[in-house]
């Protein structure tokens, strides 16, 4: 489908102008189950800033990753200068992400799985997936008793991800999260959509929770990356950054959580294919 950029915005200057296109494309992909290529025509646009490219395209890369972007986004009817801005901005962002993730991968994630057959897929897939070996995952022991070895692993890790696939394991997870929070670890819960997640309010307000389903991998990806992005970007309108980023180290840790979650969700997708 061809989308005419000038139908969506009249200004091509700021990142917020760009987000009008970026958000439209997210809805477009969602409504087409991530199967259709979006072709954006810049006919009639004679000037664009690199900031505009951030909101329109780099935002999509943050949500869906490079591969999806390369496969599903095409630009037509651009002027030479706009093509140059698009190519250089996007290319340098690919390179930047590669470098950034190298730094991220020097960190360690503690992953609390719940002992169910489904969650053990995560562990197996992570071990099998060569790419994931670049990020160090420490798992809790197979038995669900929270003992000293697991505590040591949480202390050693930089961030904490908990996976919930069945209600009976919630209590053990809560115990582990409480321990992680004592050490100021940033925490993310990946919870299967069908599970009713009853957890104490103090935890619900402190950790990030992303619900996943078994339907679409890209939906899961978008959902968790959107969550991370919102955490990294304080609400500038209201100056509310109490729950958001305080400094560069926070951004690195939120990104680590996001990268870990994406790997786990990819592992789940691979498992489903089998």
């Amino acid at each position: 489908m061809t989308i005419l950029a000038t139908d969506l915005t009249k200004s091509f200057l700021s990142g917020d102008d760009g987000l009008k296109i970026g958000r439209y494309l997210v809805d477009f992909f969602k409504s087409n189950q991530y199967n259709e290529v979006a072709t954006i025509s810049f006919y009639g646009v004679d000037f664009m800033t690199p900031s505009f490219v951030n909101g329109a395209f780099l935002y999509l890369i943050d949500l869906f990753g490079e591969e999806f972007f390369k496969k599903n986004v095409k630009v037509i009817q651009a002027t030479n200068s706009i093509a140059q801005i698009l190519r250089s901005s996007i290319q340098s962002y690919f390179e930047y992400r590669k470098e950034f993730f190298k730094n991220v991968k020097t960190n360690t994630i503690y992953c609390a799985i719940d002992g169910s057959a489904e969650s053990s897929h995560f562990r197996r897939a992570i071990y099998e997936n060569t790419q994931s070996q670049e990020i160090r995952f420490l798992f809790n022991p197979d038995d669900t008793i929270f003992e000293q070895n697991a505590k040591n692993n949480i202390i050693k890790a930089d961030v904490f991800i908990g996976i919930i696939t069945a209600t009976q394991f919630i209590a053990t997870l809560v115990e582990q999260i409480n321990f992680a929070l004592q050490y100021n670890k940033k925490c993310l819960i990946l919870c299967k959509e069908s599970i009713e997640l009853h957890i104490p309010t103090n935890i619900r307000n402190t950790v990030m929770i992303s619900y996943y389903n078994n339907r679409s991998y890209y939906d899961r990806l978008r959902s968790v990356n959107e969550l991370i992005l919102n955490k990294k970007v304080p609400n500038l309108q209201t100056q509310d950054n109490s729950q958001g980023t305080k400094n560069a180290n926070d951004v690195l840790l939120w990104t680590l959580l996001g990268a870990g979650a994406v790997l786990l969700l990819s592992a789940l997708a691979d498992e489903q294919k089998k």
Binding site: Y43, F47, S51, N54, V251
Partner: protein
Amino acid sequence: MIIKLPRIISLHFLAELLQAIKNQTVQKITFDWLEVKNMADETISFYLSFVSFLEQNKIDLICENELQCTCYQRIKNIRHCNISATHDVCKDIYVATVKTLEEQEQLRMQMKDFFRFCINVGSKDIQPIDTIFSELFMNICQHSDNKNGFVFMPFLYEKNSIVLIMNDLGDGIVNVIRNYFIDKSFTIDANAIQYATVDFVTTKSTKSNQGRGLNILKTIMISLKGDLQIYSAKGLYEIKEGKEILSTLPYQHIGTLIKVEILIENLPQKEVDDFSENIDF
């Protein structure tokens, strides 16, 4: 010639005024507005730069309405206290105004008018200046946490160059970078400014802002062999003849001042642009 200042000063008017001053046909400028009684800070900022400019050109600005003299005095007093450093940096330079992000597009178009009126760029492409202007403006609006600032855009006839200066009165790059990148130690303030010019370094993180503005500015300035200066706190970061120079100022600069100077002859030739490019990433 005596020029009476209109109540609304457009860039077009200022361009005409600039020409008249260049031709040395202006002796004094008068004004008698009533609206200036309760001036907003940004209005004051505008007149600050305007008054500076006139003084540099030895032109008297005379208030014809006694009731307004207090306001005028207020302008002068402010200039001499909190932006004296800026004033030194900006000598010989003219004016524009302070606007909000929403009015940026309008200001950009006015800037193009200014170019057309004042400067003969011939077959040169002013798009790099357009990009610099937009990126710098957004930098002020997004990062300074203070919309109050100055935009100066003179054309230096002797050197055949364009100068663009923006100064916001916000927290300043140095303070913001030092507070955000707490694990990094910057020996001098100029190091913090230098770090802010690295691609994708940002203190507002992602989504619609990726921290590219200053890097883009630096890249354009190097490619056009232009001069770049960034003043913040006690830091001065410069690019001259493609080389980075870091130094320490003898005073504390309020907010952030960015000055770019580009020779017209270094602008690229304007190419005929059609809408024919298709891109796969």
